[in-house]
């Protein structure tokens, strides 16, 4: 997984609450057996009509957002199905940072295991960022070392993230390799552990 310490990028605003993982990547695309190539199906039912033509009225289809790497969404982002295809699709499309006022637990976890940083800000702040990005080409910087988000026009705020996912993201660690350094403890535990 690619480490992430500080990232500056174009913001894509998605002003909707409760965006669920089926909207992020509809189920008809879950049948592949590799982790790659899901970006083309991101938000598919919003981006394309029944004849697979791009829907002009969906904002992510506008040329100005094509290089966006930061998504700012509404509350309870990523609710619903546990499918990790959702962060795979976001990452493959080019998003490295998702900002929202709250995230569903499993989605949050899945992001951090795939080099995507989920950032929790206050609802007023996300609304402000969404407005800014709807108006102009809007860039933000997210600093995971300092736990800060800022632009070059005076917006500046801090965020909280637990130490563990922060460390994993900053170092781009393979979690299994880390766990396997505790292999002896797992083996010792298994000796006395009762499972019927």
């Amino acid at each position: 997984m690619e480490p992430i310490t500080q990232h500056t990028g174009l913001v894509y605003p998605l002003n909707r609450a409760h965006v669920d993982t089926d909207q992020i990547i509809p189920k008809q695309f879950l049948k592949r057996i590799s982790r790659k190539g899901f970006g083309q199906y991101l938000f598919y039912n919003w981006r394309f009509d029944e004849k697979d033509r791009p829907r002009e009225d969906f904002s992510l289809n506008q040329p100005k957002y094509q290089d966006a790497s930061i998504l700012v969404g509404g509350e309870n982002f990523g609710c619903g199905s546990s499918r990790e295809h959702a962060p795979w699709a976001l990452e493959d499309f080019g998003f490295r940072i998702i900002i929202a006022s709250s995230f569903a637990d499993i989605f949050f976890n899945n992001c951090t295991k795939n080099g995507i940083l989920p950032v929790v800000l206050k609802e007023e702040e996300t609304q402000q960022l969404i407005k800014n990005a709807e108006k102009d080409d809007y860039y933000l910087t997210v600093d995971l070392e300092a736990k800060e988000v800022y632009d070059n026009a005076g917006f500046q705020t801090t965020f909280d993230i637990a130490e563990y996912p922060r460390e994993m993201l900053i170092n781009g660690w393979d979690e299994i390799a880390v766990t396997l350094t505790h292999d002896d403890k797992i083996t010792a535990f298994e000796k006395d552990h009762v499972v019927y």
Partner: protein, 467 residues
């Protein structure tokens, strides 16, 4: 005397392998359930790194999401077939037990776990599926994980977890006739919202929960995720023990007596405290119908579709408006006047034998409306076989329902069973999200009894007066 503990703390303490200050703990996983959709990339990851499955015997696989429910011997969808073949190969290569297509135990992962006695009190259970919370009904700590975590559990039999906060959802009072576990959980989410459980593990307590069957408890725990909680559980009691005794993977004889003692001792201690408590009075719950695009957008069957103007907050107005538009509904009309075209009885929420029995009991010789397509999809081969022994298949078929092969089917419409665009379905499943049952499909969540009644009437009806 030791400090009183909740069942959540007891399971946690029993299964922590290693703790590091200010970090998640390494938690041992007792049962890892697997299905075809969220596992291929995990096995691929193992292969790429030359890793093995640490405990194949604590792993169990089935096929459910993609499986066809008609003509199951020829799988027309090439990509679904590839996913199922991949699971079969992976299970062979890594020695994981599999109840795949054609196996007499195949079925929805959350139906077969309890049915086979794999699900037991005190176990930590994970699966690459958000409705893993279902297994909590037995007093297990069970939650959904992503594919990277599936790979992690396969290879280490552990997962890094922060100790959860505890939420007591206390449901007292007596359920009225015709009101079910499904109505309790819908009413609960409608009262407290789709994220009141976020960050918590829920324990459902109170006399109404105690009186429920294991099936009813599973229905409630199943939808914990719709309240934002990754896990929801019920302390084990005699009902739990009676359900488990004699099941395939449950020990017998003396070992069962020992297990029984251990299991009952896991129940929350009388004076244990929770981080937070919410309550619901079961006697006030009425049969529920969702009208919108998340499970909290729900009203009693005799209620009226909400009007956006009834809210002051512009965001709340917008949310209602958006949902009404998607659902093709006008505000202020009675929900029981809305005609439906489809009925789906199935899913890990409501496809067990008890659900099918209750659904069938509503028929009473009547027929499905000629404007409605209604299907019944049993949760597993075992449920199907037992239902057929009881003649339920005939009752459904005679009434005009279709009787299908087990699988997830129209709950998420991945296998080709879908609600066509713009059409309306009364469904016993758990999610009414946009597109869940097919592109532009409109879903109303209800109990199995309410679904049958709607199939017959062609619109929603109050089951309490539908005699």
């Amino acid at each position: 005397m030791t400090k009183p503990k909740t069942i959540i703390e007891k399971i946690w303490d029993k299964n922590v392998v290693h703790e590091i200050p200010n970090r998640p703990s390494l938690l041992y996983i007792d049962l890892h359930l697997i299905h075809e959709v969220t596992s291929p990339q995990a096995f691929e990851g193992l292969r790429m790194k030359g890793r093995k499955v640490r405990q194949p015997k604590r792993t169990f696989a089935t096929m459910d999401h993609n499986v066809p429910t008609v003509h199951t011997n020829v799988i027309k969808d090439e990509i679904s077939k590839l996913q199922m073949d991949t699971l079969r190969k992976n299970c062979e290569e890594f020695d994981v037990p599999l109840a795949g297509m054609g196996h007499k135990h195949q079925g929805i992962v959350h139906v077969i776990g309890p049915e086979l006695g794999l699900t037991q009190p005190g176990k930590t259970i994970v699966c690459g599926d958000s409705h893993t919370s279902t297994h909590g009904a037995f007093g297990a700590l069970a939650f959904g994980i992503g594919t990277s975590e599936v790979e992690h559990v396969l290879s280490t039999q552990t997962i890094w977890q922060a100790k959860p906060k505890t939420l007591n959802v206390k449901i007292d009072g007596e359920l009225g006739t015709g009101v079910t576990a499904k109505d309790i959980v819908l009413a609960l989410i409608s009262k407290y919202g789709v994220d009141f459980g976020t960050g918590y593990v829920i324990e459902y307590t109170g006399e109404a929960i105690r009186k429920l069957s294991m099936e009813g408890r599973m229905t409630i725990c199943n939808m914990s995720i719709e309240a934002g909680a990754r896990a929801g559980l019920v302390s084990p009691d005699q009902t739990t023990i009676d359900f488990l005794e004699g099941r395939l993977h449950v020990p017998s004889g003396e070992e069962f007596e020992q297990a029984k003692q251990d299991w009952l001792s896991l129940a929350t201690d009388p004076d244990a405290t929770y981080d937070h408590t919410v309550t619901l009075n079961a006697s006030e719950v009425e049969p529920q119908v969702t009208w919108g695009t998340n499970p909290s957008q729900c009203i009693p069957v005799n209620g009226y579709i909400p009007n956006p103007n009834s809210k002051d907050d512009p965001n709340a107005q917008q949310e209602i408006k958006h949902s009404l538009e998607y659902m093709g509904l006008e505000p202020d009309i009675p929900i029981n006047s809305v005609p439906i075209e489809h009925v789906f009885i199935g899913s890990c929420t409501n496809s067990r034998l008890e659900d099918l029995k209750q659904a069938a009991s509503v028929i009473k010789g009547r027929k499905v409306s000629d404007k409605v397509n209604a299907i019944v999809v049993p949760g597993s081969q075992t449920v199907k076989a037992k239902a057929e022994e009881l003649g339920l298949d005939k009752e459904f078929l005679e009434a005009g329902f279709e009787w299908r092969e087990p699988g997830c089917s129209m709950c998420l419409a991945m296998n080709g069973d879908a609600v066509p665009p713009g059409e309306r379905c009364a469904s016993t499943s758990n999610r009414n999200f946009e597109g869940r049952q097919g592109a532009d499909a409109r879903t109303h969540l209800v109990s199995p009894e309410m679904a049958t009644a709607a199939a017959i009437a062609g619109h929603f009806v109050d089951i309490r007066t539908f005699v």
